[in-house]
């Protein structure tokens, strides 16, 4: 329910926000949230150092951050799962080559990969999405490979080989559905860290470029005003926490719904 609410908020952001997220009001700088002294209902979360409405910026920020994280997640998952299945199913030298690549990627910090990528390709949002995906594929590859190794020894895999199924057919039809539930859990576990990766990139100023609001860049902006106006950083940070939490619950629920083996 909360997830649906968030999705709705993100999709319909332009119609929901009380203010233009990028409109500055120099007279209303660093206004505290509505519940504090000096706050007004006009700016429920308060305003930032340029007098922009924080609620509006948070809503737009969710849209940008979640969007980037989601696509990055999907790209990483696709790359990782494909390589993981190939690795687990074929074994031998293919397996070793892919796993070596995974080890290399794991030992290089994600941030570094993205930094290099941004330096090479610029800070376009599409580039950012691909880089985030590329930075995080190796966990899927590793997990999927392990699961495939386990599933491929199951008698039903041999049974379907005995019926003349090809390797690709077995991979798509018999292996993938059986590793779907750990994969979904991993996706939801990874989502927050991808969201944070996007946020830290934006915080560092190499992610989403101003004036576009992203949750990370907003926290970054608030850093300078932590003492005087803590809400500038805390409001988007709380939104990050809320999103992470909701996505985790969504993952649990999804797994229960999708896995036919868990009886209710």
């Amino acid at each position: 329910m909360l997830a649906v609410l968030m999705a709705v908020v993100a999709v319909f952001a332009p119609w929901l926000t009380p203010h233009d997220p990028d409109a500055t009001q120099m007279l209303a700088r660093l206004k505290p949230p509505a519940f504090m002294e000096g706050g007004e209902l006009n700016h429920v979360f308060g305003t930032d150092q340029a007098g922009r409405d924080l609620l509006s910026r948070c809503i737009y920020g969710v849209r940008v951050s979640v969007g980037i994280a989601l696509f990055g997640l999907v790209i990483g998952c696709l790359i990782g799962t494909t390589l993981g299945v190939i690795s687990g199913l074929f074994g031998g030298i293919v397996d070793r080559a892919i796993m070596m690549l995974v080890d290399v990627f794991i030992s290089v910090p994600n941030l570094l990969i993205v930094l290099v990528g941004v330096a090479a390709f610029g800070t376009d949002i599409i580039v950012l999405v691909f880089l985030i995906g590329l930075a995080r594929w190796e966990t899927y590859a590793r997990m999927v490979r392990g699961q495939v190794l386990q599933v491929r020894e199951m008698p039903y895999i041999e049974a379907s080989r005995a019926l003349g199924a090809s390797r690709a057919w077995i991979a798509i039809r018999h292996v993938l559905p059986n590793i779907a539930s750990p994969l979904i859990v991993l996706l939801t576990l990874n989502f927050p860290s991808i969201l944070l990766l996007e946020s830290s990139l934006s915080f560092l100023g190499i992610g989403v470029q101003p004036p576009t609001a992203s949750l990370g860049s907003m926290v970054g902006d608030g850093r300078d005003h932590l003492i005087a106006a803590w809400w500038v950083a805390v409001a988007p940070a709380l939104v990050i926490v809320a999103i992470t939490f909701v996505v985790q619950m969504l993952g649990d629920w999804l797994r229960d719904v999708m896995d036919v083996r868990i009886d209710d």
Partner: protein, 352 residues
Amino acid sequence: MTERMPNRDAAVLNLPNVLEVRGLNVHIATDDGELCAVADAAFSVRDGETLALVGESGAGKSMTALAVMRLAQSAAIRVSGEILLRTGEGEPLNLLALNAPAIRAVRGRLASMVFQEPMTSLNPVLRVGDQIAEAIVAHEAIGWPAARARALDLLRLVGIADAPARSRTFPHELSGGMRQRVMIAIALACRPRLLIADEPTTALDVTVQAQVLALIRSLQKELGMAVLFITHDLGVVAQIADRVAVMYAGRIVEEAPVRDLFAAPRHPYTQGLLRSMPNAGRAARSHRIAPIPGSMPSLARLPLGCAFHPRCERAEPGRCDAGVPALEAIGDLRAVRCWRWREPALAAAENG
């Protein structure tokens, strides 16, 4: 155990071999060197005939079955010999010579296999109807809706009531017997010439086991297919087989029509197996179960000579421990692999 020993030797003899295995060897590379899981196996199965492959765990029966389906192939396993499958008209196919797409076209279409574990041989996340339909789609130019309709017919064929509802269930919602019926339906989806059943009833209780055996027999009659039935249970053999091949430590030691084997086993191992069988009925009171002393040697440490000689009460030093005996034909239908089968002591022991 029902004592139904079909005797169809005469009729069966004239039919062509569907499966003919010659000189089949399966070598497995291990850390301690290469061991021979199946040595020089030769047998054939005719149209409409059931050959039972009997032996203890590790005797090489399942390995033989997997080798026939070309499923026993990995870097560590080496299969050699000839496996000929008659396809109807023309020359039989040598399965060991086929490339990967060609062997896939054989599996499930010309030759199918039913496995021991009905609990785990079905994919737990797919509906059973779709799993049957999948076997059809894999081999025939047919759409999914038509294949699903055929799947319903197959479910009815294997005696599952309310097929439309059952086809939508997941494997864990079915009982063991039902699942094995579904497995049989999948194996029969394309009406294969040869069905290999690898201990299909071992995981089932006796009542369900009898039902499944009866089902396999009636389907065999209906479809006229050859069945290679693998089991360690002589009771099951008596119910289902036309001919029996007994395996010990990777070798076929005796081959005979089922009635002859039970009436007059020639190999000391077969004799021991029959003596160690519980015998319900009139003789039960006076009959003691006589186990074979010792256990089957590990394939990595096979004794010299006849592999059975350390456990054989009639082993002759200097002969049985010197060379591996050949599988000698006795008449048209029988064969035995023993140095001393002609000797009277063995013949007399048949009644023991």
